[in-house]
Subunit: 152 residues, 2 copies
């Protein structure tokens, strides 16, 4: 991958994204929410995370707009956590990281498997694609200044 | 997104992946490597990271096989860090997280821009795709046990 810019990134959204997600537990809580966890106790039992850390991380995710926190209609003492659209939009990040672990950390196939609900076939590997749909390897990519981008 | 499995993930590669990448600096060092940094001093100057933390993280990334560490041929006292294929394979994760930050953290467009080297057009948004190439929204996805997957 070539770069025509000397500096890393005068303006990059990655640090802001990492303010929310640059932490191990945040990803694991997110994974729990994606497989359907909604109660504090579910997250706690499944992740084996200390209660104060879980409370802190859930609160942070609510503050950052990744999760909603509402009272359960049947039992107002219970609280339900659910992903917002902003939280759901992290799915490609989560899946790409999981696929990378499967491929490179010798974990073998993960279970459960994320499938297309229509035909129960596994999703594709997450790749960097060009506008024309080609899978782009690092050597086919280039970092350029936004003024040099081909907008056609 | 529906789940037919009660537990989060009896076998998930995400924790292993997070052992390597579940930390803010690791992502920022990776970003530096992708835009072409190769010397300790470059990473240090651009990221503003404490030297001992940078040394620790680079060492961890070498240990985990994400980066190679070799002596510079012109000056053997200098060390060059470069991404291995395993490290390069994290690009979709990094780009998906950056795009999420652009879209949801009100950062606006990032600069520099990652483009297809062939035509300088920006890469596509990273999405979860079905085998047929459809972009799948969370409501079109399902977590199922691997024994229930449609392999056809």
């Amino acid at each position: 991958m070539k770069s025509s810019t000397k500096t890393s990134a005068a303006k990059c959204s990655l640090p802001a994204a990492l303010d929310v997600m640059g932490e191990r537990w945040s990803f694991l809580i997110l994974r729990g929410a994606f497989v359907g966890f909604s109660h504090f106790e579910q997250f706690q039992a499944e992740l084996g995370i200390a209660r104060n850390i879980l409370a802190n991380r859930l609160s942070k995710m609510v503050t950052h707009g990744l999760m909603n926190r509402v009272g359960c209609s049947e039992d107002r003492r219970k609280v339900i956590y659910s992903l917002t659209p902003k939280g759901e939009a992290l799915l490609p990040v989560l899946i790409a990281l999981r696929q990378w672990g499967e491929r490179w950390e010798n974990c073998g196939p993960s279970n459960p498997v994320l499938v297309d609900a229509r035909d129960r076939r596994p999703i594709r590997e997450i790749c960097v694609l060009g506008v024309d749909g080609r899978v782009l390897a690092p050597c086919e990519l280039k970092w350029i200044d936004s003024s040099e981008v081909n907008q056609s």
